[in-house]
Amino acid sequence: MHPVRKQRLYLVLFVVLFSSAAIGLVMYALSGNINLFFPPAEVAQGKAPVGQPIRVGGMVVDGSVQRSTDSLVVRFELTDYQATVPVSYEGILPDLFGEGQGAVASGVLDEQGVLRASEVLAKHDENYMPPEVADALEQSGYDHKGNAK
């Protein structure tokens, strides 16, 4: 074979082998590390698998957040206004987390239907405010709230 041809053949072989190794790696990594999103209604219907990592997103139910007084355990409920899912989490919640706010918890559903969250994310929309903000507005000298308080 012509040496340039031979070199090209090796080159193609190398690229193919390397790419297939990479694809294999990607598939392997993907199989263990993706998690599916479920709205609370589907969790309530039993569609979410028990014991596998999943994510559940919804609004944090008003008045549902209970903090333990001697540890970092927090319990709250997520709702999509059709069903609610209880969540238990140990650790520090993100700043934007709050009752009546949207949140996504990722973790594992246990036998009792409680989501044991390992991570809680909160998303906040700037154009869009929950009532709690009113307190802070007062301090900032916003008088266009009509001097309500």
Binding site: G57, Q82, G102, N127, Y128, M129, L137, G146
Partner: protein, 180 residues
């Protein structure tokens, strides 16, 4: 010809990706389920803002209308307020849901900035808001003549939102009502 065709491979891959990206545009990764679309407005019995007279579901339906959830503590509501006044001046019926607010403050706000609302439901405890699945303020719902929620807009209604989303839907619903 084969080596030539090979050069088109990157283009092909990009084309496939572009199709997915285009599909992605119409999907919202964080869309919250809006349970009440195409469902009737929930029943309620709440006072008119600043009065003791009770309002019920039947008082706000019968006509294609907007239902605007607002509060004086909500800065964004102030941004959208002038547009609402403008829309109301154009003959569109708007009902207000004064959400988790104080009546006195709300009345003063309306006296100061103009009142675009036909009626204002004083949802002091947020109970109607809970039934409707309100996340916060402002939110605006489009009701058809039968009192069914047809559209929900989360956030400020401004000229763009009104002209590109709400107004076309509103006109369509009105036209449908007249045809019947």
């Amino acid at each position: 010809m084969a080596p030539r065709l090979k050069l088109f491979l990157p283009l092909l891959i990009f084309a496939i990706m572009a199709v997915f990206l285009f599909r992605g545009l119409s999907l919202d990764p964080q869309a919250m389920p809006s349970a009440l679309i195409d469902r009737p407005l929930p029943e309620f019995e709440l006072p008119v803002l600043g009065q003791e007279r009770l309002l019920a579901r039947k008082d706000v339906i019968g006509e294609v209308a907007l239902l605007n959830v607002w509060a004086t503590w909500c800065v964004s509501c102030r941004v959208e307020h002038p547009y609402l006044v403008q829309i109301a001046a154009g003959g569109v019926p708007i009902y207000g849901v004064n959400y988790k607010d104080e009546d006195a403050a709300a009345s003063r706000w309306l006296a100061e900035l103009g009142d675009p609302y036909r009626l204002n439901i004083a949802d002091r405890a947020g109970s109607l808001g809970l039934d409707m699945g309100v996340y916060g303020a402002p939110e605006t719902y489009l009701l058809d003549a039968a009192g069914v929620i047809r559209y929900r807009h989360v956030g400020v209604v401004d000229e763009r939102v009104w002209q590109t989303i709400l107004q076309p839907l509103y006109r369509e619903l009105v036209a449908k009502g007249e045809a019947r």
